[in-house]
Symmetry: C2
Subunit: 219 residues, 2 copies
């Protein structure tokens, strides 16, 4: 893509995000997006064949933007709970201006919907996001049981999805309830991950690993 | 409510459910529901002031219908895993004809939406549903730690909500994947509940209890 072309694409994406925030995702048309960006409707379709494609481009952009911020957030904290808190805080702060938009998109839990966090279309984004939890774990100094280790980043990713859902509908000032939930739950997660290595936990650990494997094999 | 009145109300509810299943919840109007039930639109509004009210009446009806079925399902099995499986199986079998409709309603995770499973409007239904888990626990013979005991039914209810979400979008034949997930996860839940009583689990147990308390106090 040439510089001019990349610039136009970025302008359309930005105009779309503006409109989505102001008037809602469902309520916005490609025609309006093109007008807002100052391009012909056909030109908008040249770059994005649908609003869904724009939303996916937003997810993708977010991931690129977050990469250095996450690296920075994970540079300091040592304990798993602090690393998880830092990681989640950075993500939520980044998405805060689009919290309501995420609410509209979060309605798609159906894995067959392109914008679902569980869809084929978001797979690559999801896998890279799971990676961020692998990094949070790696620097924590906790020795992970061998069987659990490959599954744990994905388990933590699911934990994150639950927190994000809570955050989207958190109407407390500055989403204070979510902050409290993150602090408390991250401490619990750290404790459970440490406990998972103890011999009496072995049977339940194996059951969890097998459950995770069976779910991902099926899909 | 007189017998005639109750009969009319039931007829409207049934007509509405038929239409919701056939053409979708969002796509159905009160006018169509009235026509399908053979009553004037005004009469339909006399019994239900909105489609949301009809959906809530359906939830309510479901709970009444399920009561004896759940009692029966819990009469046999002894272990917690079997009791949980039996309870979930009965509920999913009951809702199976309306699985797609539940998908449409499940889009409302927002606690401020009347049809959300977390809303004020569904509170009573939710509390009675939580009760079914208290009964599943009570008959299992597992001695529950005192601090965890009051919170556990609610934790299990959340576990159920996760399973229901999985089931709604489960496209495997006869939702076989969900059946597998229930069997595996119920065994894990049983193991964790038993482990929770062990002394080394005490700190994490307390953290979970405090988390649950803080979330329900806030709301």
């Amino acid at each position: 893509m040439g510089a001019k072309s990349a610039e136009t694409r970025a302008r359309i994406l930005e105009a779309a995000m503006d409109l989505f925030r102001r008037q809602g995702f469902e309520e916005t048309t490609m025609r309006e997006i093109a007008a807002e960006a100052g391009v012909a409707t056909g030109a908008a379709y040249y770059y994005f064949d649908s609003k869904d494609a724009i939303a996916l481009a937003f997810y993708d952009q977010a991931q690129q933007d977050l990469e250095p911020l996450l690296a920075q957030a994970l540079a300091g904290p040592q304990t798993l709970r602090d690393r998880l808190s830092a990681l989640l805080e950075v993500k939520l702060r980044y998405f805060a201006p689009n919290r309501r938009l995420l609410g509209a998109l979060a309605a798609h839990a159906d894995p067959e919907h392109p914008l679902s966090p569980f869809s084929q279309q978001t797979r690559q984004i999801r896998e890279r996001d799971v990676e961020s939890f692998a990094r949070a774990l790696a620097g924590s100094g906790i020795r992970l049981p061998r069987d659990l280790s490959p599954q744990l980043p994905r388990l933590l990713w699911m934990y994150q999805m639950g927190l994000i859902l809570f955050w989207i509908y958190d109407r407390s000032p500055a989403q204070r309830r979510t902050a409290g939930l993150i602090a408390r739950s991250a401490a619990i997660v750290e404790r459970l991950v440490k406990l998972a290595a103890f011999p009496p936990m072995r049977p339940v650990r194996r059951m969890v690993v097998e459950l995770m494997q069976s779910v991902s094999e099926d899909s």
